[in-house]
Every structure is written in structure tokens, then in C-alpha cells.
């Protein structure tokens, strides 16, 4: 058994040395195909990360018709903090609101001279848990708020939220469709390359069948060869991806005007890297298997 396995390994390595051009073509095709698919997913992953960052700024602001008295404020804040969707709540007095307005106007703040300090309404600013930073989550919070406070104006950037949610939905569909398409194209190219490399060795396959080799004996070295090439292709794809990420992707995304400042872009984590290399091995095995099924006829 061990003897046979060592023969298969020797045969696979020997074949790769004997057909360096075909072997390199397979490895490079797999590396480029895997790197393309992985680059695409890396871009999507980072855009999603950015989207999550954007949604962190999402707040619900309830402008109060009447500023609560000192005795009422504490219980109101406690009640709102109990909302399951809320992580933090901040009370902004009329004076604070005016101060913010002034500072926002900057050098033109003198426009507010003579305006009463209490002209702006007091408000509650609610920060939400990540899973509730969507329309349905916010609507839930708004409903709850309405039972606790007198407010005619609860603001949560409705327009922005709608556009943001559409963007995320479109991103999901486009990434799935494009990703699927890219994956199929990669599979097609890789399986055809393997088919061509095996086709170039059809004499060897034919002679093997003529001298009484069993299907297993014929296929195993080729599958091992496919797996080894896939492994090399996967590792090379990882190296390529790392180069693309550091030299091209990262600077481009960082310079994108919508990118939040100080965002740390993410590369594939260890499991995803392992998945990429494993995908290479699988690609090599299944690519060889499907071609061998057609080429080896006993």
C-alpha cells in the first residue's frame, strides 16, 4: 500500500518534471483564476466593511416639544436606555443645541446674535446596536420612543438610510452575480487548461490502458499531479493577491473620497487564506478528474 502510494507520488513529481511547460501553464492558469476571484471578493469585503463604518454614524434624534423638567429627565433616559435596540442615549439641551449650531456656523456665527438661546428644541440622540441599524430596526425604536416622549419630529436621516440600504442590496446582488460569473469563468478556464495538458499526454494514457493498468493506477498519479499543481497555484494566487492588495488595491481604496478616514482595510484572514489554497487543490483534483473521465477509456 505504502509502496504503491510512494510510487504514485514519485510518478506525479516525475511527470511534472517531464512536462515543465504543461505543468507551468496549469499552475499559472489556476493562480491567475484564483487570484482574480479572490481579488474580487477582497474588494467586496472591504466595501462592505466601509458600509458598516458608514452605518455606525446612524443615529435616531427625537426633537422634544417640551424640555423635560429635572425630575422627569432621569426616568426618561433610564427608560430609553432599556430599549433593546439602544446602546447609548444622550440628552441635548436647548442651549447645547444652540452652541452646536454656532460652532457649525463657524465664522458666520454672529448671524445668531440676538436670537434667543432657547429657540432650538431639546433632543434625545440614540445610538443603536449594529443589528438594528436598518429601516425596520429604526422604525421599531421610533415606535417605542413615541410612547415615551412628546415629539412631533423624530429624525433618523430617512432619505440617507433608504439610499444606503439600496446601495447595500445592490452591492450584494452585483457581488453575488459577478462573483458567481467570475468563479464559473475561472472553473471553465482551469478545466480547459487541464484538459489540454492531459490531451497532450493522451498517448501516455492510451499506452497505460494497453499494458493493463487499472483505472485507479492511471488516474491517481494524474489526480495527485492536479492536487500538487492546485496547491502551487493556490499559494501563488495568495502571493499575487497579497501583492495586488498592498501595491494597488489598498492605495486606491484609501484614496477613494467616500472612504471613512482612518479605516483599516482588511486582507484575507488565516481561514480564508487556507480556503483559497484548498480551493486550488480542489480545482486541480476535480479539473483533472473530469478531463480524465473523458480521456481514459478502457
Amino acid at each position: 500500500m505504502l509502496d504503491k502510494f510512494s510510487y504514485f507520488i514519485r510518478r506525479a513529481l516525475h511527470n511534472m518534471r517531464q512536462w515543465p511547460f504543461l505543468c507551468t501553464a496549469s499552475v499559472l492558469t489556476m493562480a491567475v483564476a484564483l487570484a482574480s476571484v479572490a481579488t474580487f471578493f477582497l474588494v467586496v469585503m472591504n466595501i462592505q466593511l466601509m458600509a458598516t463604518k458608514w452605518s455606525e454614524d446612524l443615529q435616531v434624534v427625537a426633537y422634544l416639544d417640551r424640555q423635560p423638567g429635572t425630575g422627569q429627565l432621569g426616568p426618561l433616559l433610564d427608560a430609553v436606555k432599556q430599549f433593546p435596540e439602544v446602546t447609548a442615549v444622550k440628552f441635548v439641551t436647548k442651549q447645547e443645541a444652540m452652541q452646536r449650531f454656532r460652532s457649525r456656523l463657524g465664522t458666520e456665527s454672529n448671524l445668531l446674535d440676538g436670537v434667543r438661546e432657547d429657540i432650538l428644541p431639546a433632543s434625545l440622540e440614540l445610538s443603536l446596536r449594529p443589528e438594528y441599524r436598518n429601516r425596520s430596526g429604526i422604525e421599531q425604536v421610533v415606535k417605542r420612543l413615541e410612547t415615551h416622549v412628546d415629539s412631533n419630529d423624530i429624525h433618523y436621516g430617512q432619505d440617507w438610510l433608504e439610499r444606503f440600504e439600496t446601495f447595500v442590496a445592490v452591492l450584494k446582488i452585483v457581488s453575488q452575480a459577478l462573483g458567481g460569473f467570475l468563479l464559473l469563468a475561472a472553473l471553465f478556464i482551469v478545466s480547459n487548461t487541464i484538459k489540454l495538458t492531459l490531451f497532450a499526454r493522451r498517448d501516455e494514457l492510451e499506452i497505460m490502458t494497453l499494458v493493463g493498468a487499472t483505472l485507479r493506477f492511471i488516474k491517481v498519479p494524474f489526480l495527485l499531479e492536479g492536487a500538487l499543481q492546485g496547491l502551487l497555484g493556490g499559494v501563488l494566487a495568495l502571493a499575487l493577491l497579497s501583492a495586488i492588495f498592498n501595491l494597488f488595491l489598498s492605495p486606491v481604496i484609501q484614496s477613494f473620497w467616500l472612504t471613512p478616514a482612518g479605516i483599516e482595510l482588511i486582507f484575507l484572514n488565516f481561514n480564508q487564506q487556507l480556503l483559497l489554497v484548498t480551493a486550488g487543490v480542489m480545482l486541480g483534483i476535480f479539473g483533472s478528474l473530469s478531463s480524465l473521465r473523458k480521456l481514459v477509456q478502457i
Binding site: 499506452i207 494497453l210 499494458v211
Partner: protein
């Protein structure tokens, strides 16, 4: 009318065997013949007479459309694909175009047949050397086929066929690409294999071969076995 001239224990038996690739077009029609253990038989006929198909049926590269084929007592007419490799281990095949792997050395080409049968390394090297010695090419072990002449390449192909000690040796126009002198050397190798007990079937359209080495001759014509006879020496 064909008269069976064989008597003794059979190695190859065909009963009413036909092979057609298309409905109206039969490559072989209703062939019945028996070939004994250790016999040397020529299969002859013009191009397209069915010689190659006849041999291909014997090593199960094709399946008969009708009829029964027995090899060493085993009916191979409906043999399962999984058993074909084991049948082929009993049969050595030699082709007109040698079918050698040009990317491998002479040694590797011959060893290939033994490795395919899962033989141990030390056994492989011993047998390969012996087989190459028998065909007179033991000094060319590390050459590749393309560095050798046509005759030498065919001798390697014969060594590959014989290294597994086959019960049957099938040769399809083995001297078709070789000049007369080399063809005679090749014939001598077949005769030696036959003398060691291997049943040899040699397809050829070269009449001079079987006049020079007279043995039983099966003559095919348009897929039919029209003659089964023993020719006289020149």
C-alpha cells in the same frame, strides 16, 4: 469454406463473431476460429480486410457486436470494464507505429508495463534488463526512443510487450515501417517468444514473411475469414 486446422487445447476461440461500426457496414462478419496454446498464426488480408479489428477484439479495445470470444477459457464478449486491465496483462501488443513514450527513456518505456501491473521495483529492474537483453538493446537503457532507429524502437516495443510474460502476443503490422532486413530481425524475436510458449498472432499483408517463416495463416477479405491454411515454404 474454412476448415479448422487446429487441434489441441485452445488459447483463443471465436464463435460467429461480427463487428460493425455502422448498421450496413461490418468490419468483421461471422468469424469462427480457434487458435491453440503456443501457436504462431498470421492474420492477413488487404488493407481494410479487418485485421486490426480482429486483433482489437482480442484485447478488448473493441467489443464484438455479435458472437463469443474466449481467451484462455475466459469469455470476454461481455467482460466488465473493470476486468479488462487484468485481461490485458495476459496479452502483449505490438503496433506498427511502436506507441512508445518519447519523453521517457528506453528503460522507463519497458518498465512502464510492469509498473502498471503494480510490480515491485527490484522485480521491475531485473525483468526490464532481461527483456531488453533478449531484444539486444540492453546497452541503450538511458536513451529516449527518438534517439534510436525504427528497428530499435520496434524492438523496445516488443520488449515492453514481452516483459510481462504474456500468454498471447498480438502484433499489428509490426514490420510495416521497417525495411526487409530489420523486419526479419523482428520476426526472429517473435519466433523466439513463440518458442518459449507464447501464442503469437501477427497481422500483416506482407506475403514474403509467411513464406519465409511458414505458419498457419488466417486470410480475411472484407471482414470474412476466407481461408485458414498452412502455406508452403518458399
Amino acid at each position: 469454406m474454412v476448415y479448422p486446422i487446429f487441434s489441441g487445447s485452445p488459447m483463443i476461440q471465436l464463435y460467429n463473431v461480427s463487428k460493425s461500426y455502422q448498421k450496413e457496414n461490418s468490419a468483421l462478419k461471422d468469424i469462427s476460429v480457434q487458435i491453440g496454446k503456443g501457436e504462431f498464426v498470421y492474420v492477413t488480408g488487404a488493407s481494410g480486410a479487418g485485421k486490426t479489428t480482429f486483433l482489437r477484439l482480442l484485447y478488448s479495445a473493441e467489443r464484438a457486436t455479435r458472437g463469443q470470444i474466449l481467451i484462455d477459457g475466459q469469455n470476454i464478449s461481455r467482460i466488465s470494464r473493470l476486468k479488462i486491465p487484468y485481461l490485458r496483462r495476459k496479452i502483449g501488443v505490438v503496433f506498427q507505429d511502436y506507441k512508445l513514450l518519447n519523453s521517457r527513456t528506453v528503460y522507463e518505456n519497458v518498465a512502464f508495463a510492469l509498473e502498471a501491473q503494480g510490480k515491485k521495483r527490484y522485480e521491475v529492474s531485473k525483468k526490464v534488463y532481461k527483456a531488453l537483453k533478449e531484444v539486444g538493446l540492453e546497452h541503450r537503457l538511458q536513451r529516449t526512443p527518438l534517439e534510436l532507429s525504427g528497428g530499435e524502437q520496434q524492438r523496445i516495443a516488443i520488449a515492453r510487450a514481452l516483459v510481462v510474460d504474456p500468454l498471447i502476443l498480438l502484433a499489428d503490422e509490426p514490420s510495416g515501417n521497417l525495411d526487409q532486413e530489420v523486419a526479419l530481425e523482428i520476426m526472429e524475436l517473435f519466433r523466439q517468444a513463440n518458442a518459449r510458449g507464447t501464442t503469437v498472432l501477427l497481422a500483416t499483408h506482407d506475403h514474403s514473411l509467411y513464406h519465409r517463416f511458414p505458419r498457419r495463416v488466417l486470410t480475411l477479405e472484407q471482414g470474412r475469414l476466407v481461408k485458414d491454411h498452412q502455406p508452403e515454404t518458399l
